[in-house]
Each structure stands twice: as structure tokens, then as C-alpha cells.
Amino acid sequence: MIKRDLGELELYTLLAIQHLGGQALGVEIRDEIQRRTGRRVSVGSGYATLGRLGDKGLVRFTVLPSEPRRGGRARRSAQLTPAGVRAIRESAASLRRMLGNLAADTLP
């Protein structure tokens, strides 16, 4: 099942997690998006986007054990679910179909 209402930032987030090996921290995801698109995502919207993906069942969260040092904190990492992987695949397919034979150099 694919959610039709997958927003751009949500798709980027899923792709970033995929690039980072299927599991990543919020800060890593935002860094990855910035590295690839130049777009700076705020902590707040990163959080909200992950929350929405969680609601849709495309990612799930695991709490990593706290760092073994003073003041170390437990961290929450996001992990793609099988539905999340499917969502990436179908979105990519849609995008390819939409682009069709519009080669990169013929695009306006």
C-alpha cells in the first residue's frame, strides 16, 4: 500500500534514511538532505516530518542505548519499515513515468 499524500520533504526524508543504510538519527537525516539538495531543514520540521512518516507507518523508531559517558542521552533513530521501502520504490517509479522521455537536457 502506498500513501498518495507523500510530501516532498517526506520523500526526501525516506530517501535520506535509505542512503544512510535504512536507519538514521534526525540530525543525520537533515544533514544528508542538506548535502544532497542544499536545503536546510529546521529541527522542528525534521521532527514533524518524521512524526508524520511514523503516523503513516513508513518509519518506526527505536531508542538507541545511551552513550557511555556522563550526561549521555538515549537517542531515537528512525528506521524504514517495509512499507517505507515500498513507498520509495513506487514514488521513484511514478517520478520516472512522469519524466518519461524528457531527458535531463531537454527539461526547461
Binding site: 529546521s42 529541527v43 522542528g44 520540521s45 521532527y47 514533524a48 512524526g51 508524520r52 542521552r73 537517542r75
Partner: protein, 896 residues
């Protein structure tokens, strides 16, 4: 990664509030991580700035997320804000507390409900009159009305005429749209089923100017409003559509017999559309189509002397009001040089409609504003009252509070908890207030704004929001002082003191609050008394007409196309029928009546060798006119049947003209030339007392009276005046029927008491209202103050049971105890009364313009109010005093 930096407290706090509890920490951690990174990259200061911006950028998505979670997954843990949990527990605690003392709860609820209800009611009225823009009007702030006048006299001339309107419309540069409006009473149907409708003649540009769209059908086009005679089409109001056509769609295209023409209904206005006035007319007709109904006749497009049209216009963006108005006056002067309002020195003022609307209601607006202020006083009293009760309660709960403090509850939490209690009370009070507002609003409208014929619901979103806001404010306001005071409790001494009644006496704050209540009540009662006295003074005015005895009947024959010559025959027959009706003491025909229109002329009084001219008003009347009004004949005789067309020309004059023209000499038999010196001489046959013309307060103007038989052509207007023997209200229908059946196919005959003439209603309204409403508020205030006194004194008695017991054991008699208790209450109220009296005396000047023939320092009113206050206080103290007198000495002493 190095040890991460800490996110500043303010950011943490913001996140705590904004984000669900479960996520707030994670977000803060993530921010902290990035902050350390930023510090490494850019240095401490830049990183802090970065953080602030990052937090602010993050709040909107976080809050949005929060809302989504609350709406979609309300049960998720932490979905509700963290603080809601405490609020919920505070609320249920407060509920339990209130349920435990129902007497207290009910008293406070009542006080809040009355206070808030009175305010919401008055807000509704003031909002209606002054604040709320008219419905369906696009950008009402741009619309102005042109009023003429001089800066010195104020701008009182609100009407203009067609040549001026047309010229400004065609040449005015300052306005993008302009419309002309005249209201008129439209005769509808004939004979016994005849009625008068409220009509508005409007230029075709009227509806486009307002930007309104019809509910059904369409509005007029320019091609239907063509001078001098436009198409017979009508737009009807939603209410008239419901009433006349039961809301049937067939109304469009139906015809209505209006005046002497058949009008076709082409459109229906939206339900709550009232134009620029407060109430909708029954129908709108094209300005040019009402031609036959206008008393101006065929010259309505060209005559520039009479004023009858109001001009509304929309300002072009960027054009200053003054410039547009000055431009309009230049054009008006050009178009109507002979009109009085274009005379040198006069200018137009472009008055925004929002202020114009309020101003036109004049006295009603002033009184409504005054009453709104007074309702605020009632609210203050209610607040003082509740604060007092809460204080007393706080003192009673000292021990409980001390224990909770000792157990580690922070003072902040304690204050929050006590505040929750007062907020809860205020909210419940506000809910009850809504009911009061509904009924109060209906009543206040009937009293205050009856003439406006408002139809919209009393309770709308604005009134409800106001009620809610006031309730919350009042809750916070009344709760704060008692809560702060209670939380200051001395933990150890209170617990050690043992009992709940550890000898604490009434606090100074309580006494002060009681005195304030008494002071405010005093002011309100004084206001009511002063208005009441003004009203008595007005009722005692000698106006030359018994306003509540005399009926006026009018019938617009011209509107149905009957020539003036026919009118006299119809009115003669009507007079005959009316005079023969049971219950009629006397009746007469006249061209005008007190508080009706005025007609002026000139009187030339022949001196020994010169003619002195007096500007004078005139009226054309049949015999018995003065007897019917109730005006006394001072000298000479009244007109009678011997004064006919061909007999000696006779006139009567009023006292003021008689004195001005002849001083102490006898005016009877003198010669006066009315209108022009070339006319034959008329002989003065009688002098009557001054009869009011335009205002119940005026000094009368010069007046001459001509007999109808000799002056039929002077003026074609005809009215019937009737003096009732008894029950004038019931006689109105009899008179109407008699007039209506004087000839077949007559239009509606309007019959009403002089008392109900708009002018009289308008002028007496402020006093009636002031007396009634302030009286009601004063009674309310008195009730609240009495409850306050009762509450505090009986609490006091409870506190001092032991002391009283001891006193009685030592030989004090019941009377001593009673005076001890009552003295307390009376002292506080007396202090308050003196303060209130002082305030009232000092600020009396503010109310003076609203009073009539009454000093704001009227000693009788002052004394009566003081006595009322003392009597009520005594009554309120009586019950606790009785309880004190019957204290069981043994039980009281043994207690502890």
C-alpha cells in the same frame, strides 16, 4: 562528539509547551547537539543567534504537529499539553471544593452571572449602535455621508436634494461611487386593508455602492432609475418577503399596489441586510419611481430649496475626507446657489458612516454608553463581592492551606489552584450570564432601541466572545488577591494555632471591599434618583399639549393621486365621523401639530407709523383645535363657525408673539398682515398659551393661527387631532377606522399619540431609560451589597462566637450584642456611602448635561439614597445579629 552544549532555559521552556511531552526532550537533545557543532564552527555568539532562529523556525511545524496529534490521536500519551494534566487535577479539586459549599457557590455564581450578564447586555447594545459595521457592506470604512453646516454650529444638515446629488455624481472627483437615499412611508393597498410600508427611495447606484448581492432576483439597473419617472420596480426585504409572500419564490414578478402605481417585485435582499441603517425597510424603490409619492411633486429633480435626500459616497482611495467634501461643496454651490445649505460659510463634512450612525441616535447613544459604564460598575461590585467571599473562604481554609504548604506544595501551585477555583466560578457564572444576556438583551432593545426595529439575534458571536472574555478576566481578577493572600499563610503558626478559627479577624481587605461596594451602590442609586427626578420634572412641563391625551391622525391622499381639493372634503367628512365616535372629547383638523413639521411666514404688525416684521410659524386649524390640544385660551375667543371664507379675516397669536408685538397692551382687535404687506389685514381675535413646536425643551417661537375656512390654500397638508376622554391607546383604532371609512378606497390612516411622536420619544427616552436602567442596576448593586454585608457579618459572628459568649457571660445584654454586630456592618457601609457620596458630588458635573432641571447634588435624592442604603444594610445585618443574640453561652465558652 564532544560534550554537548546546553540549550538555554527559554528554549527548553518553549519546547516543553509546544511539543508533546514525549518528544520535547528528544528535540531539545537534537538542538543541543547541533548547537555544540555550531559553536565549534562559528563561535559562541553566532551559535546562540543561530539557535534562537532555529527555535523560532522550528516552532510552527512543531505546533502544527501537536495540533494534528491532538486532533487525530487524542488518546496518545502526552498528546495533551503537559500543563493540561495539572489543570485537570486542579479543576477536579476545585469542583470538589465548590460542591462542598453550595451556599457559597450559588452566591458567587449569582453575583458573577448578574455582573457579567449586565455587561454583556450593554455591550450588545453599544456594539449594535457604535461598533459593528453594517452587514453585507463592502469596506464600510470607505463610505461617508455628506452633512452640511458650519464648524461653529456643528454639522446638523443631513439632507440635500436632487440637483446637488446629480451634480456631485456627474462632476465630483473625490468619490468613486455615490448614491442618494430618502426614506418614505409608502401607502400599500386601499380601504380597510390599507397599510403603510417603510420604504427607502434609492438611486440605482445604492446597491453597487454597498457591494451587496441580492438573495434572489436582482437589484435595479441604471436604466430603471431614470428621472423624472422611473420604472415601477421594487426590491423587498427578506422579512417583508416572508411576511407578505410566506417566502414563496413566486414573489419575484408579483405586483404590489404602492401609492397610485403597480410595482413589480424584481429582487429580494439578503436576510440580515439593513443597508446603512440599523433596521431594514420593507422595500426599496428606485429614487425616480417614487415620484408620485413625494410631496415635492413634479419638480423633484429641479427644486433645490427643500432638502430631503441623504447622500452616501465611497471615497476614492487616497483622497482625504476634507478635500472630497470641499470639492463636493464647490459643485453644490454651482448647482444650487439658492439652497440654504450652500450659503457662504457653510461647508460639507464627509462623515464616515460608522460615526454618523451613532451620532444620529444622539441621546440613545449617549445613554447607552453611560449605561455601559454603569454596568461596568455593577460588575465591579460583583467582583468586590466575590473577592470578599473568596477572602473569607481563604481565611476559613487557612489551616488546610498551611498543611498543604507544609507538605511541600509550592506557593505557585497553590495560587494556581485557588485561581482555578475562581476561574471555574467565573466560567460557570458566564454560562448563566448568557441566559441573562439573552433576556436582558431582548428587554433592553425594547426599552432602548425600539425605534430601530432591530431583528438580528441578541446573542451573536461577538457578544458571546465578549461574555467569555469578561468571564475569564473577572475570574482572574477576583481570584488573584485572595489567592495571593491565602498563599502567604504562616505555616507554623497556623498549624500550631490548632482550630480553623485561630482567632483571625476579618481582614482589612474585606472591610475595604465592603466599603467599595457600598460606595459604588451609592453612586448607582444616586444616578437612578437623579434621572427619576428629571423625568418627574419633564412630566410636569407645560407644553401646551397633553401629550398622553391627544391623538394625531394622518392620511397621505396625495400619494394615491387625490388632488388637494378633494382632501378637504375627505378630511371634513373624517372629522365629522371622528367627532361622533364614542370616547372622543373633541377633535379638529390642522395642517400641523406640535412636534410635527413647521411652516414659517412673516407677520407685519402695524405700528403707529411703521410696520414691524416678525418671522413666525403658522398653523391652519379648525375651531376647537386648542381645546383638543389642551392649550388654554388666555385672551379673546377661539375660532368658530362664524369665521368663514368671506367674513372678516381673523387670526390668533401665541403668547410670545403677543408680548413681543404689543408688550403689555391688549392685542385683541389689532391688525396683522400675514405673509405679505400687500395682503388685507387680519384681526387678532385671541391669544393662546405657547404650544411647543419642535422640542419639549424649547422656548416657544412666534406663532400665528389661521382658520381653515379662510386659509384653505395656504397649505394643503391636513391632519386630524383628537382628544380622548379616557384610554387614548384604545381610541386610536376607532379614530383610524373613522378616518379610513370617510371615503372609499382611502390609503392607510396612521393614528398615534402625541407622546409617541418620534421627537417626543427621542427627547424623553434618555430620562426614561436612565431612570429605569440605572434603577435596575442600582437595585442589583444594592442586592449584591446586601448579600456582601450579610456574608461578611455573619462570617464575623461565626468567628466571634466565643467572644460573644464571654461577653454575654460577663453580663452583656442581647441588645448590646446586637448593636455590636450591627454597628460593624453599618460602619463599613456608612464609610462607603460617604465615599460614594463624595465621588458623586465631585463628579456630578459629568452627568449634568444628561439631567433636566435637576441638580446633580439634589439634596432630596441624596438623602433618600442614603436612607435606602442604611435601611438595606440594617436588614442585611439583622439575621446575623439575631444569631449573635442567641449564642449558647455554655457551648460558646466550652468550645475550643
Amino acid at each position: 562528539m564532544s560534550e554537548s552544549a546546553r540549550v538555554p532555559r527559554w528554549a527548553e521552556w518553549l519546547l516543553q509547551i509546544a511539543a508533546p511531552a514525549a518528544d520535547a526532550d528528544a528535540i531539545a537533545d537534537e538542538l543541543a547537539d547541533e548547537l555544540s557543532r555550531e559553536i565549534e564552527h562559528r563561535g559562541e555568539r553566532a551559535a546562540r543567534v543561530w539557535l534562537a532562529r532555529e527555535v523560532l523556525r522550528s516552532l510552527p511545524p512543531i505546533l502544527t504537529r501537536r495540533v494534528v496529534i491532538v486532533l487525530r490521536y487524542p488518546r496518545r500519551r502526552g498528546a495533551m499539553p503537559n500543563r493540561f494534566e495539572t489543570v485537570r487535577s486542579d479543576l477536579s479539586y476545585a469542583m470538589r471544593q465548590l460542591r462542598r459549599s453550595p451556599g457559597f457557590t450559588m452566591t458567587v455564581l449569582l453575583a458573577f452571572a448578574l455582573g457579567i450578564g449586565a455587561n454583556a447586555t450593554m455591550f450588545g447594545i453599544v456594539d449594535e449602535l457604535l461598533l459593528r459595521p453594517p452587514a453585507h457592506v463592502r469596506v464600510p470604512g470607505e463610505i461617508v455621508t455628506l452633512v452640511a453646516g458650519t464648524a461653529a454650529d456643528g454639522f446638523g444638515q443631513r439632507t440635500s436634494n436632487y440637483p446637488v446629488f446629480a451634480a456631485i455624481r456627474d462632476r465630483g472627483a473625490g468619490f468613486s461611487q455615490i448614491a442618494a437615499v430618502a426614506s418614505l412611508s409608502v401607502p400599500f393597498g386601499r380601504g380597510d386593508h390599507a397599510a403603510n410600508l417603510d420604504g427607502l427611495l434609492v438611486s440605482a447606484s445604492y446597491f453597487p455602492l454597498l457591494g451587496v448581492t441580492p438573495a434572489r432576483g436582482r437589484f435595479f439597473g441604471e436604466n430603471e432609475d431614470v428621472a423624472p419617472i422611473g420604472d415601477p420596480v421594487a426590491v423587498i426585504s427578506h422579512a417583508f418577503w416572508q411576511r407578505q409572500f410566506s417566502g414563496s419564490p413566486d414573489a419575484i414578478g408579483a405586483t404590489l399596489q404602492l401609492g397610485d402605481r403597480q410595482f413589480r417585485v424584481i429582487g429580494i435582499a439578503p436576510p440580515d441586510f439593513t443597508g446603512l441603517d440599523y433596521a431594514a425597510p420593507d422595500l426599496w424603490l428606485p429614487l425616480s419611481s417614487g415620484g408620485a409619492m413625494q410631496w415635492l411633486g413634479k419638480q423633484w429633480t429641479t427644486q433645490s430649496i427643500v432638502t430631503w435626500l441623504r447622500i452616501y459616497a465611497r471615497l476614492k482611495p487616497g483622497v482625504p475626507l476634507k478635500e472630497a467634501a470641499a470639492d463636493a461643496m464647490r459643485i453644490a454651490r454651482d448647482a444650487a446657489p439658492d439652497a440654504f445649505f450652500t450659503q457662504p460659510g457653510w461647508t460639507f463634512r464627509a462623515q464616515p458612516i460608522m460615526t454618523a450612525r451613532g451620532e444620529e441616535q444622539g441621546a440613545s447613544t449617549t445613554v447607552a454608553t453611560l449605561l455601559a459604564a454603569m454596568s461596568l460598575v455593577v460588575l465591579l461590585i460583583a467582583c468586590a463581592n466575590v473577592a470578599n467571599l473568596l477572602l473569607a473562604r481563604g481565611i476559613r481554609r487557612r489551616r488546610e492551606i498551611a498543611v498543604r504548604l507544609a507538605l511541600g506544595v509550592t506557593r505557585g501551585r497553590l495560587v494556581a489552584q485557588l485561581l482555578t477555583e475562581s476561574m471555574l466560578l467565573a466560567t460557570l457564572g458566564g454560562a448563566v450570564a448568557i441566559i441573562i444576556t439573552h433576556w436582558g438583551g431582548v428587554l433592553a432593545r425594547r426599552l432602548l432601541l425600539d425605534d430601530l426595529g432591530l431583528t438580528a439575534s441578541v446573542l451573536d458571536l461577538r457578544v458571546l466572545s465578549f461574555t467569555a472574555a469578561v468571564a475569564l478576566l473577572v475570574g482572574a481578577f477576583t481570584g488573584l488577591i485572595p489567592a495571593l493572600q491565602a498563599s502567604r499563610a504562616e505555616v507554623f503558626s497556623t498549624i500550631k494555632a490548632g482550630g480553623d478559627r485561630g482567632g483571625t479577624r476579618r481582614s482589612r481587605a474585606q472591610s475595604a471591599l465592603l466599603a467599595i461596594q457600598a460606595a459604588l451602590s451609592f453612586v448607582l442609586l444616586l444616578g437612578a434618583g437623579l434621572f427619576g427626578r428629571s423625568l418627574i420634572a419633564i412630566n410636569g412641563l407645560r407644553m401646551g399639549v397633553d401629550v398622553d391625551r391627544v391623538l394625531v391622525g394622518s392620511m397621505n391622499l396625495r400619494s394615491i393621486g387625490r388632488p388637494a381639493s378633494v382632501a378637504d372634503a375627505v378630511f371634513a367628512r373624517a372629522l365629522e365621523q371622528v367627532a361622533a365616535s364614542p370616547g372622543v372629547a373633541s377633535a379638529a383638523v390642522a395642517t400641523t401639530v406640535p412636534f410635527g413639521p413647521s411652516y414659517g411666514t412673516e407677520a407685519g404688525v402695524m405700528g403707529r407709523d411703521s410696520v414691524r416684521h416678525y418671522t413666525t410659524m403658522y398653523n391652519v386649524v379648525t375651531p376647537d383645535y386648542f381645546k383638543t390640544l389642551g392649550a388654554s385660551l388666555l385672551r379673546g375667543r377661539d375660532f368658530s363657525d362664524i369665521d368663514r371664507e368671506r367674513t372678516t379675516r381673523v387670526i390668533m397669536v401665541n403668547e410670545i408673539l403677543a408680548r413681543r408685538a404689543w408688550g403689555h397692551e391688549n392685542p385683541i382687535g389689532r391688525c396683522v398682515r400675514i405673509g405679505s404687506d400687500s395682503l388685507p389685514c387680519a384681526t387678532v381675535i385671541g391669544v393662546v398659551e405657547n404650544v411647543r413646536r419642535q422640542s419639549i425643551f424649547e422656548d416657544s417661537s412666534n406663532f400665528v393661527y389661521l382658520p381653515l375656512a379662510q386659509a384653505r390654500d395656504w397649505n394643503t397638508a391636513r391632519l386630524i387631532v383628537v382628544r380622548a376622554m379616557a384610554d387614548p391607546e384604545r381610541l386610536a383604532e376607532t379614530v383610524r377606522h373613522a378616518m379610513q371609512t370617510a371615503a372609499p378606497e382611502l390609503p392607510f390612516a396612521d393614528v398615534h399619540l402625541v407622546k409617541n411622536q418620534p421627537v417626543v420619544r427621542h427627547e424623553t427616552l434618555p430620562f426614561r431609560l436612565g431612570a429605569i436602567m440605572l434603577g435596575a442596576f442600582g437595585a442589583l448593586a444594592l442586592l449584591l451589597a446586601a448579600v456582601g454585608v450579610y456574608g461578611v457579618i455573619s462570617y464575623d459572628v461565626g468567628q466571634r462566637t466565643r467572644e460573644i459568649g464571654v461577653r454575654m457571660a460577663l453580663g452583656a445584654r442581647a441588645a448590646n450584642v446586637a448593636s455590636l454586630v450591627m454597628g460593624e456592618g453599618l460602619r463599613m457601609v456608612a464609610v462607603g456611602g460617604v465615599i460614594g457620596g463624595g465621588v458623586a458630588l465631585a463628579s456630578g458635573g459629568a452627568i449634568r448635561p444628561l439631567l433636566y432641571a435637576t441638580s446633580p447634588r439634589d439634596p432630596v435624592v441624596l438623602v433618600v439614597v442614603a436612607v435606602v442604603l442604611l435601611v438595606v444594610t440594617t436588614l442585611a445585618c439583622l439575621v446575623p445579629a439575631q444569631r449573635a443574640m442567641h449564642v449558647d453561652i455554655n457551648a460558646a465558652i466550652r468550645e475550643e
